[in-house]
């Protein structure tokens, strides 16, 4: 990125001078690098400010086109566990668009049969994310793509958490539109991309100089784009080894905290009653654990120096339990006691071991202060208690 902030500072859209050519070459290389990661053609990549913008552009842009040219009130099928950038965008359109929010099972997976049943004459788009940002669940993209193709509807995929971490092939999965985020694959913040399949029509959201094939007017942030391209290239090269590494760390974390499935929960060395939320076959970099009888927020406060979160990054300001966990059927008290452990290629084994040990220590201490836990230890079934004030 550095040369593009110093010596190659030209505006890539200024075709009449050499500085501009240099910048353009950098951007076109990055476009090819991003395309190479998802097996698309470079001309199908539109640079944006991130996955939030990409998802807005994909959903609003495609539906605006469809409303204008094909269906007066199109129907969109999505899931209850999408990122807010999809859910809020669809909510904003609720007057003009009919939306079905698919339920998910206790692992966070959609039911493909329910998806098929939900398709109607006016269905225009299926919007399902690749990897969930809170629980790591990976949706069956290939099957969803097949259903979309068979029914001739668009398949929009928010793959911010998936691209660069797991193999995602837009052709194999028959994806029409896909959001990509720079900072989710170790690239710069404030840059992302939207994959727009050849021949898929979308209307731009902003008017201006017609950059990015008129899909996204505005001068391109050349250094950020070059950084995203390089991140995509490195991600492709390292994907397999990073995945194995992250998986090893995740297994280690879980093993230290809650032990193996076969281990007795009475074992002194592990924490009893810990629940893993989400799908253990999902992306391992996102481990979501519930520690019953402990408030997630109190646990975080008791772990200074450790960067973890309760809920999702964007909603952790609110003390509402995560809507993703609720959609899995997790009870509110368990959702309140959940913590997300994000593991990436820069995470070290020492950090994982230290975090796991500290979590065990803090949970044990906090539980000692909990009257509920006292009751559980005495063998009282809390679910059978009537807490009413009669």
């Amino acid at each position: 990125m550095l040369p593009y902030m110093t010596s190659s500072f030209g505006n890539m859209h200024s075709r009449t001078h050499a500085f501009g050519w240099n910048a353009e070459a950098g951007v076109e290389k990055a476009r090819a690098q991003v395309a190479g990661l998802i097996n698309s053609s470079p001309c199908e990549i539109v640079f944006t400010s991130g996955a939030t913008e990409s998802s807005n552009l994909a959903i609003k842009g495609a539906l605006n086109y469809i409303k204008k040219n094909k269906i007066k009130k199109p129907h969109v099928i999505t899931t209850q566990t999408e990122h807010k950038c999809v859910l809020e965008t669809l909510r904003e359109l609720e007057d003009e668009v009919e939306v079905t929010y698919l339920k998910v099972d206790n692992k966070g997976l959609i039911d493909l049969e329910e998806l098929k049943r939900s398709i109607k004459d006016n269905t225009a788009m299926i919007a399902v994310m690749a990897v969930n940002n809170e629980i790591g669940t990976v949706q069956p993209l290939e099957e969803i793509g097949k259903i979309a193709k068979k029914n001739n509807v668009l398949f929009f995929c928010d793959a911010a958490q998936g691209v660069g971490k797991i193999p995602i092939d837009v052709n194999k999965n028959n994806i029409s539109l896909m959001s990509i985020s720079g900072h989710k694959m170790y690239g710069p913040k404030g840059i992302g991309a939207l994959f727009v399949k050849n021949k898929v029509r979308i209307l731009p959201l902003q008017s201006g100089g017609g950059q990015e094939r008129n899909f996204r007017s505005g001068t391109n942030p050349v250094p950020l784009i070059v950084g995203l391209g390089k991140a995509a290239e490195i991600a492709k090269e390292e994907m397999k080894s990073n995945f194995e590494y992250v998986k090893m760390l995740a297994q280690k974390l879980i093993k230290i905290i809650k032990g193996n499935e076969t281990q007795e929960s009475k074992n002194d060395n592990i924490l009893p009653f810990v629940i893993r939320n989400g799908d253990e076959n999902g992306y391992p970099g996102c481990v979501n654990l519930s520690f019953p009888y402990v408030e997630g927020e109190s646990l975080l406060l008791s772990l200074p120096g450790v960067a973890l979160s309760s809920g999702s990054a964007c909603t952790s300001q609110s003390l509402e339990p995560s809507y993703v966990l609720r959609a899995l059927g997790t009870k509110d008290d368990l959702a309140h006691s959940s913590i997300r452990f994000g593991i990436g290629k820069f995470t070290t084994e020492e950090e994982v071991v230290e975090t796991a040990e500290k979590v065990k220590e803090s949970v044990t201490k906090l539980r000692e202060m909990s009257p509920l836990y006292e009751m559980v230890k005495e063998g009282i079934n809390l679910d059978e208690i009537n807490w009413g004030d009669n």
């Binding site: 550095l2 290629k345 820069f346 070290t348 020492e350 230290e354």
Partner: protein, 92 residues
Amino acid sequence: MIIMTSRQQILKLYKTMLRESQKFPSYNFKQYAVRRVHDAFKENRSLTDAKFIENQLKEAYRNLDIIKRQVIIGQLYSTEKLVIENIEKNKK
């Protein structure tokens, strides 16, 4: 550039890369660089195709330059030590 691919030279490159990686001021980048260098050499340990070895070596020299540059940039903007680094130090 013609690169000699003697065993000794490869070993020297490996050691240089590890040494340079150790200079990262950021704990996480340092550990990552060391791990990647280690894994890459291990992965390529049994290569026999001379042309391929030469390409891999060229790539390694390119990466060595990147490590050196990033170390300098890292030193320009180093940050406070992480909790884990102090724990590690106390252990030693």
